[in-house]
Amino acid sequence: MKRSFVSVLAVALVFVLAVPLFGQSYDPMKFKSSKPQAAWKIALVPKDATNAWFVRMESGVKRYAKDTGINVFQKGPPKTDAAMQAQVIEDLIAQGVDAICVVPVDPSALEPVLGKALSKGIVVIDHEGASQQNCLYDIEAFSNEGLGQALMQVLAKSMGEKGTYTTMVGNVTNASHNEWADAGVAYQKAKYPNMTLLAAEPRVEIMDNLDTAYQRAKELFKKYPDLKGIFGTSSLSTPGTARAIEELGLKGKAFVTSVGLPNENKPYLKSGTVQAVMLWDSAEAGYAMLATAVAVLKGEKIANGINLKGKGWESMTFAPESTKVLLGKSWISITKDNVDSFGF
């Protein structure tokens, strides 16, 4: 008797009160809004409200509002915390927004609350959350392969497409850094036959530390006098190596590039030691997320080649074997001419 009561209760809980949480797959076409565009309300939830990266993202959100006249706004948690981010999303659901764009602190912690949003017919778009189940689309700025090729193009141009180079990663265990480096090396082999990878030390590790980058670069240039280029991945590779290049008097003879932040690299870009570092722009990413949400609300089909309007987001492709994750080519090269325009 008692046992059957418990099981009835359990089954009832599952079926009657169930909040859809996992594994539910939603058809994006069903999220077409019946409301007029002027009544739409779209929120973008960053990881936190004060980080310079997301302040920059908000400028893209404001530009989108100005360009389209749609009511879009950015609302992030006061601190970078998964639990607090979920609370902001709870409040947004209660306010009845039509779409939520989110840069998750921790995708798995947001599954229940985003599942609730989807079940209420709210469009959910992720960015930098490729593992998110409860979203209609996740848009990524680039594929690892694409970024690696772009970095190699920059380095090859600096080196005049000839000479010896090596690769420098943050940590040899960092999956994306190694994928960028592998893609860069493969691209060099295909496109720049006069360049060679340093056979003795093809992959250097800097433990994601600026000082280590400087020390390792100095060692390398002393040990291998014909070394002309360093293909960096971590944002610390360029400032560390550039310092070594300047101290050793190798300016104009040795070159480096990597992903990098504008302010960290400003002195080296201005002095001409570094020609360019690569970055993707969070303002464009914010713009593209909103464009994705609007496309879904309009009932447009998201297919390969879709234009998400942000710079570098004009022609998106689905990641291999995915109908959710879209990849762009949204990297920009930061040079001495545009380094002052970012504000971080």
Partner: protein, 346 residues
């Protein structure tokens, strides 16, 4: 001797605290009114109340835990660490023990065991902190700063900092139950705890002992109280409450992680002080704490409705409210003291 002193303190305390409750109530109504007027279509809606009821229990329960330790003249900064460690043990057990695809009635006993594991973890975490404070005479603020680091460290160690997800679906289904489609389970748990702890403080012998210890530890010892035992038991209660909060966070996030809710610690201290818990010990009521929780939740959810106000300002507003209340309390108590002195002179 005892008969003259004993009623004198609670009488004065009660009068003072009731004024504090009144002030909190006025502030609550003010914040509520302000938000309702400014955001009539969004703030005072059922959906928004539902959203708020889902948000505050997890930190509210930890705030009650911290309040208890502050009443005894201590503080428990280890609540978030305890909550996460408890949740991680429960999650590890569930992930490891529950067979894939088991029907709900088979999963239910595992859930009960997981809850028991979490509560036991909370109890032990609290007992350890209490032991450090009472037996080793380490100041509570330092001891619990240490336990916070220790528990978070253990949690990171056993999970490598990764979220423990893929819990059985039934856990978050039950955890996110809403009674009558409106009252979340976590809210009901909060209410039960608030009433229970409130009664414990006002009616039970243990509650009275906590207030006495917080008012004057030396006097309590000379009055024959076993201070060490009271302290250990208080931190055990705080630990259990933290583990309940951990279980709620685990249901909401459908996973457990070493650093969920890290900024809650200071927020809970703020709530306790705002709610009229005397940081020096001896005074304070759960009613006040609950009012403070509601004020902060109204402010926080209200602020989320202003698209152009960054949440950056939430800290500014919360800090401002806290300082305002502290200054008011100080001014009122100075006035009350003066009046009492004048009356005794006359």
């Amino acid at each position: 001797m005892q008969s003259t002193v004993k009623p004198a303190i609670p009488a004065k305390a009660l009068a003072g605290r009731d004024q504090n409750l009144l002030r909190l109530l006025v502030m609550l109504v003010f914040v509520f009114g302000l938000m309702t007027v400014l955001r009539p279509n969004e703030f005072a809606t059922l959906a928004d109340f539902n959203s708020m009821m889902r948000q505050f229990p997890e930190y509210g329960i930890m705030a009650i835990g911290i309040s208890l330790t502050m009443i005894t003249g201590g503080i428990d900064l280890g609540v978030v660490g305890t909550a996460n460690l408890s949740a991680i043990f429960a999650a590890k057990f569930l992930i490891g023990a529950v067979p894939q695809g088991a029907p709900p009635e088979q999963v239910l006993p595992y859930l009960a065991a997981a809850v028991a594991i979490a509560l036991a973890t909370g109890l032990l975490c609290g007992a350890f902190a209490g032991l450090l404070i009472s037996r080793f005479r380490i100041p509570a603020i330092l001891a619990t700063l240490g336990t916070q680091q220790l528990y978070t460290g253990i949690a990171i160690g056993i999970t490598n900092g990764r979220p423990q997800s893929r819990l059985p679906l039934l856990y978050s289904t039950i955890g996110n139950t809403e009674f009558f489609g409106f009252f979340p389970l976590s809210f009901v748990i909060y209410c039960a705890i608030a009433v229970g702890i409130g009664l414990m403080l006002s009616r039970s012998r243990f509650g009275t002992c906590m207030y006495m210890l917080g008012t004057n530890a030396k006097a309590a010892r000379f009055a024959g109280l076993n201070n060490a035992s009271i302290i250990i038991r208080t931190y055990m209660v705080s630990g259990i409450l933290s583990s309940v909060a951990g279980l709620i966070m685990m249901a909401r996030a459908n996973s457990a992680k070493a650093d969920y809710g890290a900024p809650y610690t200071l927020q809970c201290v703020l709530i306790a002080v705002l709610g009229g818990i005397d940081p020096n010990g001896g005074f304070g009521k759960i009613t006040g704490v609950t009012l403070a929780i509601l004020i902060l939740q109204f402010l926080s959810s209200g602020l989320n409705m202003f698209n152009n106000i960054s949440n950056f300002y939430r800290d500014v507003i919360w800090g401002g409210v806290l300082i305002l209340v502290l200054v008011f309390n100080r001014l009122f108590s100075i006035r009350a003291e003066r009046r009492a002195v004048r009356r005794s002179m006359a």
